[in-house]
Symmetry: C2
Subunit: 209 residues, 2 copies
């Protein structure tokens, strides 16, 4: 958004003499208060100015951020998730690593009977690979992080909430799941995944002209 010359001038005047009333601004600019109304409304709306009742306008150092904020909070996980890479619990660690490279992903999800049971990351694999374990014999089921210790999300969650989970729990990738009840037990079908790569792609999309 390009501000007009007069809007830029208003911001400059507010920064200089804040708090400043609309009367004082109108006088400095040599126009009527009515002529300023639209500009002041816009500048307040985009967050460049803050209107304090009975005091006047002050400059806000967070221009546009509330708009950006709302825009970001409206994006849903379902819009940005990608295909998950899934292996069975009996897959050997070696085969799983090969699968990881073939799919060029950072995390594999593990299933049993069609439901999520675990996750293994590049970091987990590296730890095992240098530890002297026979990776051709041990199955991923033994080294994976097991449910319910996996942070999941649903398609309807906001991308923002998912990104906060990634940062707070220091994880690379989150499985997007759908809960179903099987024999009175909660089970999770894997629908997709969202990783830091998906968030970075979303950031690029938001920044593209």
């Amino acid at each position: 958004m390009k501000l007009s010359e007069r809007q830029e001038e208003i911001i400059r005047l507010v920064k200089e003499g804040q708090p400043i009333t609309s009367e004082a601004l109108a006088e400095k600019l040599g126009v009527t208060r009515a002529a300023l109304r639209a500009d002041l409304a816009i500048l307040t709306m985009i967050g460049a100015l803050d209107a304090r009742p009975k005091v006047g306008y002050v400059y806000s150092d967070k221009p546009k951020s509330s708009l950006v904020n709302e825009y970001i909070n409206e994006i849903k996980v379902g819009e940005i998730m990608s295909k998950p890479s899934v292996v069975g619990e009996e897959t050997t660690v070696y085969d799983a690593i090969v699968y990881l490279f073939l799919n060029d992903v950072g995390t594999l999800f593990v299933e049993n009977g069609g439901f999520l049971t675990g996750a293994v990351s590049r970091k987990d694999f590296l730890k095992i690979a240098i530890g002297g374990t026979d990776i051709h014999k041990v199955p991923v089921g033994v080294i994976m992080t097991r449910m319910p210790n996996i942070i999941c999300a649903s398609k309807e969650d906001s991308a923002y909430v998912l990104a906060t989970k990634i940062i707070e729990h220091e994880i690379d990738s989150i499985p997007i799941v759908e809960k179903t009840m099987v024999d009175d037990k909660e089970q999770y079908k894997i629908l997709g995944k969202v990783s830091k790569t998906n968030i970075t792609k979303l950031f690029v999309k938001l920044g593209k002209k």
Copy 2:
């Protein structure tokens, strides 16, 4: 940003009868054209409406995105970069992996004489670790990706441009460098790094209320 009831009503009327002139809108709302001026200016500015000269207002399906766009493009790499983890070329692969875990990072940068010479990622380490190489003997200098094949960025670059490099080149982390001339040769001092984690943190910051 919360639109006022009248602004929401204007959007509804435009959607219904577009293109629609400000006269027609004023009539439908039972107010003067002057009274609508500020609302129409705001709605056009945030991209909810598009004003077509001599035709009238039409609804735009990309509200707010140009603002988000500009906001994102103003963020500089220097504002979001973090401390890089650096090892010397002679460090053994095993010691480098231990250092990687201690610092909990995904990529190590390699230096020689204070200047960037290479980079090694978790993926590179995993490939070596399962390949039968003696990781206690081989130095990282042998397995690293070597300059000039490393994508770098400077503190002044925009975070957006950096994120596009991460996606286009499929890398996890970019060293932030400063170019200096040493004996007529370009050399790069490592000032910091920006990874997908930094971009995800930035996304969380933008989305925070």
